[in-house]
Amino acid sequence: MTKILCVEDNEDNLFMLQRRLTRAGFDVTVSRNGAESVEWAKTLLPDLIVMDLNLPGLDGWEATRRLKNQPETKDIPIIVLTADSKKNSRDKALAAGCDEFDTKPIDFQGLVGKIQSLLSRSAKP
């Protein structure tokens, strides 16, 4: 089963995301802060990471940058989710190396579509 790591500090959103993604048939692991997620991803090696940007401690941008810079996790696709619609948030996230970007509130179907397309892309090579 496809393993997805959800990084999110808001309990409600984390719970909802986990529940809906699980319902959609994914194996969901959750992490509540950036530093933790970077560590876990090394051992967990998920197929995809959904990353919130505003995290306590190490924020989403930095976490993404680190994930994309450590050899074990650099090939894992990352979808960044944020409530911040500012243009520079998006640019910063893309610069940090994320593969997709989505704003909250999430269009769940759209998110699932993005996950699937990223997975199919990474599965091909």
Partner: protein, 1147 residues
Amino acid sequence: MEEIRSQKRAAANHSVSKRFTYALIGVVTLLLVIFATVAIFVDIRRIDNDLQNRLENAAKLAQVSLAVPLWNLDAETINHFAEALLLDESLAFVKISSEGQPIAVRGQPEYQREDFSYFSRSSQFLARSDDISYNERKIGTIQLAVSRENVRQEILLNISGIVALTILIIVAISLTSIVITRRYIAHPLLKLQNSAGLIAGGNLEAPIDTTSQDEIGHLARVLDAMRGSIKGLIGKLRESTEKLEEYSETLEQKVEERTKELSETTQELTRTVEELKALGEVGRAVSSTLDLETVLTTIGACATKLSGTNTAAIYEYDEKTERLFLRATYEVEKELAEWLRLHPVRIGEGAIGRAAAERKPIQIANVFEAGIFQGSMLELMKRLGLQTGLVAIPLLREDRVVGGLVVGHKTLGYLPQEIVDRLQNFATQSGLAIQNAQLFQELEARTRDLARSVGELKALGDVGQAVSSTLDLPTVLTSIVSHAVELSGTDTGAIYEYDDKTKEFHLRASHQMEEPLAQALRSNPIRLGSGTVGRAAARGEPIQVADILEEQEYRASPTRSVLRQLGYRSLLAIPLLREGRVMGGLSVYRREAGNFSTEVVNLLQTLATQSVLAIQNARLFQEIEDKSQQVQIANQHKSEFLANMSHELRTPLNAIIGYSEMLEEEAEDLGQKAFIPDLEKIHGAGKHLLSLINNVLDLSKIEAGKMDLYLEDFAIAPMLQEVVATVKPLVEKNRNTLKVDCAEGLGAMRADLTKVRQTLFNLLSNASKFTEQGTITLGADRERVNGDEWIRFGVSDTGIGMSSEQTMKLFQAFTQADTSTTRKYGGTGLGLAISQKFCQMMGGEITVESVLGQGSRFTVRMPADANESKAKPMPPPEESSVTVAHAPEGAVSVLVIDDDPTVYDLMRRFLSKEGLQMVAARNGEEGIRLARELRPAVITLDVLMPGMDGWAVLTALKADPVVADIPVIMLSIMDEKQMGYALGAADYLTKPIDWERLVAILQRYECARPPCPVLIVEDDTGMREMLRRRLEKEAWTVIEAENGRVGLERMAERQPDLILLDLMMPEMDGFEFLDKIRQQDAWRSIPVIVITAKELKPEDRQRLNGSVEKILQKGAYSRDELISEVRNLVTAATRTRLGGAKEISHA
């Protein structure tokens, strides 16, 4: 004169009359001598003859008488005879002899012894010897001698008689000839000589006596004729000289047009000097200088020299005070001179006053005895031991008193008339000299004044320029203080600004100020009421300190000691006041002690006014800048707040939307269908909230100018397909049909795809929302206007439609056509506003046509290439009937006609801060053209412009009915308000511009935010519709009401600028409506135009009187006429009202 006199003398020596007399005497004498000679000769002859006769007679007598005695030799008888003969005294000797023997010899006593031979030999005697015969026989001889002595005596007598006669005759002749020649020759000749002399001397007016009828008279007449012709000739000569002068002057004028004034001044001077040269010797001495004091002193000196007197005093007459003022003295005691200087003399008083009054010299034998002098003067003179006689002579010029000359002499009594005459003659010449000197002084003073005022004007111009061209306060103040110092001839100066809070003056600008002084002024701020500046400000008037060293009061202040150390002696402080409020102070410092002249004080006050203006303008601008900065900051805060807010809102929304969606799914899975509609509502509300947040964010981005365009090329048809697919569910929701009507070959366009898509989606979703069971049509085509490609999308529906009022507000943010609409149809009310902004960003626009109840049609026009067309103007929409295109945001409020770019720039800065749109024209012609094209709310007009000046522009504007009613505000450096108002200006401001006032005036005139709303209260729908259409075309916003009651409701919603009112209406008629609105303060001044079909009764008119602008009778006008009349009135009434002058007229 000398020549004539010598000629006269010569004439006397060789006078004709004398010569004539001499000649006559000579001739007469000669004649008399000849006559006398002849007479004597004849007389001698006669006497000789007589003697001869006597001798002969005696001889004959002897012949007769002696013959016998001799015969008888009777000696006795013979002797008796001889004695008898001697009785004739002329017979000197008788000798009678016989036979040679003398018988009787007798002679006159003196000749008794003489012998006859003596007598016969002497020429003195006539001798005769005769023989006496008796009977033919010689018997004796008689010898007789007659003395010629008597003859001689006779001759002598004759000669003396003749000589006496001759002398007598000569005397008579001489007298006669003298009388005759004098009377008839010499006198007339002398007269002629005199006349000729006068003519020779240039006096052509002297008459010539031509009464005489003789040759001299003829000569006189000829001379007179000659005088006449000489006079004529001289007249002609003068004329031609004048002509020549005139011609040369004209020529000169032409040549020296630019320096005309200068040359006139020079001419004046030259003439003055020429005139002075023409004065006599004394006059020349006097005129060697034009300094009045020197001239007068010279006159005094000359006068004393001329008259042999001791002292002199010269007075000048002042016409204003009608007094004679002592101007100069010569050798007058200093103390007395001082007294005289302090006591000007009234006409008619004292010696010189009387002389001036009588216009002739007055002599005072002794001042102490005259009894016409003031006691104090006499006392003074007594104390000084002065005893003096006076001659007072008025100085006249063209019979005008210009002054007086008084000479004093120690020889008490009257001076000889000759001296007085000489003095008077001299005074006449001096009068001229004084006048010339006065003229020269006046001229000099005027030149000085002129030069000074030119300097001042230039300085004021510079300062004005500085005030107008920059808002940088230090620059302006430095310019002002430097001009103040230079123009007032002081050494340094400073401008202080007053701080209301601390009540202190702070140094803001200085000129040529030494650092220690500046330092002292900076570190010791002046408090209000202390220091010269502080006191001047407290009193509100200039204060000067003539000598710092002598001023006791403030010697202690540290600034004073610095001033003293630096050698400053005097200072002048001018307060800077605005409407009585202290703004600051201007002070100048001088190293010289003494008072400052009134001119300097006035000048500095003018400069102070400028400074006030500069400070005021700078403060005002600072305030505006501050405010706009605050606004900017607030705006930024708002944007940030919105951005943060949206972030904070999104997180909970995420949960709401997500959970509701999730629950919907789960409820379906669990078969709990009853929950689903409720969950859908939560989900929908969440979505609505999200779209609201997104729209608000978009809008704030657009407003902040942060909305970016992502231009890309895309094919139009696929984009439309996509939109249609997206919107389909919405369309079908209200059971509408979507018709797509796209032209073939639409091709591609370059624009922001997302925004085009969003716009179209928005329009389609709106159409779906407001239409039920109708048709929605999406159209698209490509058009070419003026060589540019445009893409046109149309979205039309058959829905509820909108009123024109609604369409007006359609594109404004947070405005749906009606507040109730939101409740009924949902939506954020931001969609159209955002869509319109998106289109405008890409150089396009959205227009709408709508008929209430019939549906709406939105048209989106966009350039095919957004890049290219961005800067180009939009082509006009094809239809114009009910179309209200975009709101006329760009309507021009102020037209500035001024050639000075700095004014224009400043004006734009100020006006844009006030939210006023401005267009500038750099000259009069352009101004008039723009005024006609743009019809601005207000025009500001400069006066001094190259080419057509402000007055001409103003006249042209007021003569053109299209623009005549636009208020014109004159802005000029010249203060000619009268002229401005006379020509129809609404207001007049002088430069430098007082911005506060200008803005106040502009706001008064400017129709604040076009379009102005007009309320139509009319029950006739057709009429209302007509009026509405007509007024909307003129960009008015029309509010409609079908009766008075509705009218009041509408007014409560939005206050109109004007009301068009019908009188006959259901529910609430016009009269009642009027009464109601006149009760409200806010509404009372709104002009009302009554349009009625009602025949007005006098009491109706009475009711309307004073509360309506105009009454229009529907019947009296055709519909078109009525409407155009309304249009005119609406325009005029609004302008008049805004112009502040309400005019009520009744039809």
